[in-house]
Symmetry: C2
Subunit: 141 residues, 2 copies
DNA sequence: TATTAGATTAGATATAGTCTAAAGTAACCA
DNA sequence: TGGTTACTTTAGACTATATCTAATCTAATA
């Protein structure tokens, strides 16, 4: 996605396109591997040493609020983020903790009785097991 | 679940039943609301002020490794835990962040082509939206 | 241009989790 | 029983992650 498109999606969501916010968004689109907040900060701050931690975190929050970015549900202590692009599920490796994307498919919704008064917005799947690298190590040949 | 049963499940998993480990396990069984690690520590430490933070965290790790406790995948910075009992999915409220249990049902597995060399152990669902309390506040009446 | 709302900054602070070294406890075996 | 060993706990230091604060800057707009 090019600069103009990013700018447009920010402004379309009511966010000013500041250089710092742009940098966060661009990094997320270039790195669809669910980077952690510290990784994002480190990368953005390396490119622009004046961009502070607070700004990076503020922008991540703003982008999530605006619906342009998703915070990924994983265990582990650093928050992980994902620019919303193609829908996908997640595979979390039991052993190394890596989070990988899995093809999207629709999931049967819960019975409305079990849903109660809750308002359902979306359903995502988390698969667990061993990623291909760890599976290879575990059962070599 | 009574004391003997907890003791038995610990020892059946190769863990000594120490007073501190027992306290963590008993707290999790009594509070199936996915408490955070700090909440667990605070409760256990209140009952037994000598039980240290390191011990609580070590025991949580041991219980997860032994398969008696599950670490719940949520965004947010404090780890949340859940004694393994009845299988269930999770509903996370967009607004207040609370994690609630949802009835279990089996989920279609991913195509083996998309799975590749990964080894799948389990699949769990995360529903997102508004919990009943927040839904009421949002759309009163 | 003046006003105002929104953003950014550095650094302090808060919160969560891990590590260390010493001491304590339980299992086991001669 | 006593000795050996592996496991466990403890307090507190330390690290990592995230948020807050107050001052300053920037951009939109009247």
């Amino acid at each position: 996605m090019d600069a103009a498109a990013i700018k447009q999606s920010l402004e379309g969501s009511g966010l000013r396109c500041t250089p710092q916010r742009y940098a966060v968004m661009a990094f997320l689109m270039d790195h669809p591997r669910h980077p952690t907040a510290p990784e994002i900060f480190e990368a953005v701050n390396r490119a622009d040493p004046l961009c502070s931690r607070a700004t990076t975190y503020n922008n991540l929050r703003d982008l999530v609020r605006a619906g342009l970015v998703r915070e990924v549900a994983v265990e582990g202590r650093a928050a992980r983020f994902d620019a919303k692009g193609v829908r996908h599920h997640h595979f979390i490796c039991d052993r190394c903790g890596n989070v990988e994307d899995m093809d999207w498919y629709d999931v049967p919704k819960p019975a409305s009785r079990s849903l109660g008064k809750r308002v359902l917005r979306e359903s995502e799947l988390i698969f667990r097991g061993l990623c291909s690298k760890c599976a290879r190590r575990r059962a070599p040949r």
